[in-house]
Amino acid sequence: MLKYIIRRVLQTIPVLIGVSILVFSLMHLIPGNPAQIIAGEGASEQTVRQIEERLGLNDPIHIQYFNYMSGVLQGDLGNSVRSGRAVSDEIATRFWVTVELSFYATVLAVFLGLMAGIISAVRRYTLADTAIMIVALFGLSMPNFWLGLVLIDWFAIGGDWLPEWAKLRPSGWGDSWRQVILPVITLGTGGAAIIARMTRSSMLEVINQDYIRTARAKGLTDRIVTYRHALKNALIPVVTVVGLEFGGFLGGAVLTETIFAINGMGRLTVQAITQRDFPIVQGAVLVLSVLFVFVNLIVDISYKLLNKRIDLN
């Protein structure tokens, strides 16, 4: 097991190097001179030269990468070309907002999804099952920017919740459940639907396995057969989905944060793109990518812990 974990951790190294190269290349993959783009169309020759100098764009590309990476490894992601503040500082204030939002959305998705999926599977082919699956299909089909707007219209504007929002912290993220619940629902609904469907189909598959018949042949109650023997097996594929959903939420937060004016990583990225603030875009994408890689690492390790059948080779 330890060997597996070590190997899996080592495997992330090439992935991270690849990610860093991609992120670094962002600026150079855009057609035209990056300094010119940052400076804007009407900028003078001199301004462009200054930006080139400041960002080190005159060095050979591998030197630039080396310089960038040695900065990154020391926690220096460069400075914003707009505000001049360190990118790491800009990100630090926003990072936890997005992680918190994604975490709550994941908790909601897992809680609702598992419950709905298990009920559906246990009462398969009944009215309850059909109803749950129809709701799940709706949840899956709604784009979250639309769902967010509808929720704002119903609850915030129509439902007298707006005053709460006036008291929000500058981050746009709140402490009371009323301030948090709408973005969390917006972000988490799709994931809940996916987890519900996954749990149901996984349970139904497991229920027909030979070892479930063995468990029943032992004289165990239906309850123990379902929740001990079936669920533990059925959850294995669900864990993967949960991890991927969390990763997806980190990316999906871009829309949700924009709709609810939450100052998280997503909104930061969107703003940086519109302002052509490349160091911020690079820093934000790098941090989110690294986070995603680690989430996947954790998923793989927990998957392994849950399912000791997986062959290491």
């Binding site: 396995q209 030979d210 070892y211 018949r213 063995t214 468990a215 029943r216 042949a217 032992k218 004289g219 165990l220 109650t221 023997h229 533990k232 097996n233 294995i236 849950l306 399912n307 000791k308 059948r309």
Partner: protein, 341 residues
């Protein structure tokens, strides 16, 4: 007269599918004497496994016992509540399955899976149950049981897993062990070991065994009584000597004739022509009539009952009834049988 522990009478089990009712078991009767082994033989799809699942009431959701009686110590278990039924399963009546590779839960250790029966039925705590599990693994001949008990099924071979299944089934000293083709998925040397183990444990523990198989060789070696099944029905029931010396049902005769035997002076193996009828389209009369060399119009029109010869041997064939319209001496797959009529 031997004491009968399980008596199955007129069992009929159907599956209700989108295409209609499938009568998987349609008239099965046999009895299992205490401490003896009953073999149920038949080809694939003859209803052997469904019969065994019916006894434990472990049928799939769309399956149902529609008629008949299953008497365990005189009580019809089909009338039992689900709760009472659970107290029998794994406790008084245990079962082992054909596929050892998939019959153990992959996410629990061997010890956890054996312990479960003990904590459920015997009121043991986890520690006691684990200690007993080690003993049981030793009983079924698994080397270094202390180590094995903490292992997961994927760490064991097929033969080992089947031994674990047997240990699990024996955990509560059952009175009846139902073994559904326990050796089919194993290679021949392991087969012999597992059958030997079952026989040995039966002698030591005094339980009755219902052995489901399609292998007549296995029947000859291990069984005391045999029920031969064809197309969902028992066509012949007798003690094993009678069955092999003088099979009476044409299907049984045909089966034995198609078996290569080193002791007999066989020129050629005699095949049974034709195919097993589809459960959706059963013949009106005797189900074997379309393939039977001795079939008469009566056979094709009317389904025979199980006729008893007065010594506990039963056969489902018109030849042995007074109504038999054919000749006195009947040729069945090259053997002569004297009609009763």
């Amino acid at each position: 007269m031997e004491e009968t522990i399980l008596d199955v009478r007129g069992l009929r089990t159907s599956f209700f599918t989108d295409e209609g009712e499938v009568k998987a078991v349609d008239g099965v009767s046999f009895s299992v004497p205490k401490g003896k082994t009953l073999g149920i033989v038949g080809e694939s799809g003859s209803g052997k496994s469904i019969t065994s699942l019916s006894i434990l009431r472990l049928l799939a959701e769309n399956g149902k016992v529609v008629d008949g009686e299953i008497r365990y110590k005189g009580e019809n278990i089909l009338d039992f509540s689900e709760k009472k039924m659970r107290s029998l399963r794994g406790n008084k009546i245990s079962m082992i399955f054909q596929e050892p590779m998939t019959s153990l839960n992959p996410v629990f250790t061997v010890g956890q899976q054996i312990s479960e029966s003990l904590t459920t039925h015997q009121g043991m705590n986890k520690k006691q149950a684990m200690a007993k599990s080690v003993d049981l693994l030793k009983l079924v001949g698994i080397p270094s049981p202390e180590k094995r008990v903490t292992q997961y099924p994927y760490e064991l071979s097929g033969g080992m897993r089947q031994r674990v299944m047997i240990a699990m089934a024996l955990a509560c000293n059952p009175e009846i062990l139902v073994a559904d083709e326990p050796t089919t998925a194993l290679d021949v040397t392991i087969q012999a070991q597992i059958l030997g183990l079952i026989k040995d444990l039966q002698n030591r523990l005094g339980m009755s065994v219902i052995l489901i198989t399609h292998d007549l060789g296995v029947v000859a070696e291990t069984c005391d009584y045999v029920a031969v099944m064809y197309a969902g029905q028992v066509v012949e029931y007798s003690d094993v000597r009678t069955l092999f010396r003088k099979p009476r049902h044409p299907y049984t005769v045909g089966l034995l004739k198609s078996l290569p035997r080193p002791d007999a002076d066989q020129e050629k193996l005699v095949p049974i022509h034709g195919m097993v009828p589809s459960p959706f389209n059963m013949p009106k009369g005797c189900r074997f009539a379309p393939r039977c060399p001795a079939a008469t119009d009566l056979c094709r029109e009317k389904l025979p009952d199980l006729f008893d010869d007065g010594e506990g041997n039963q056969v489902r064939c018109w030849i042995y009834d007074e109504e038999w319209p054919g000749p006195k001496e009947v040729d069945v797959f090259g053997e002569k049988r004297i009609a009763q009529g």
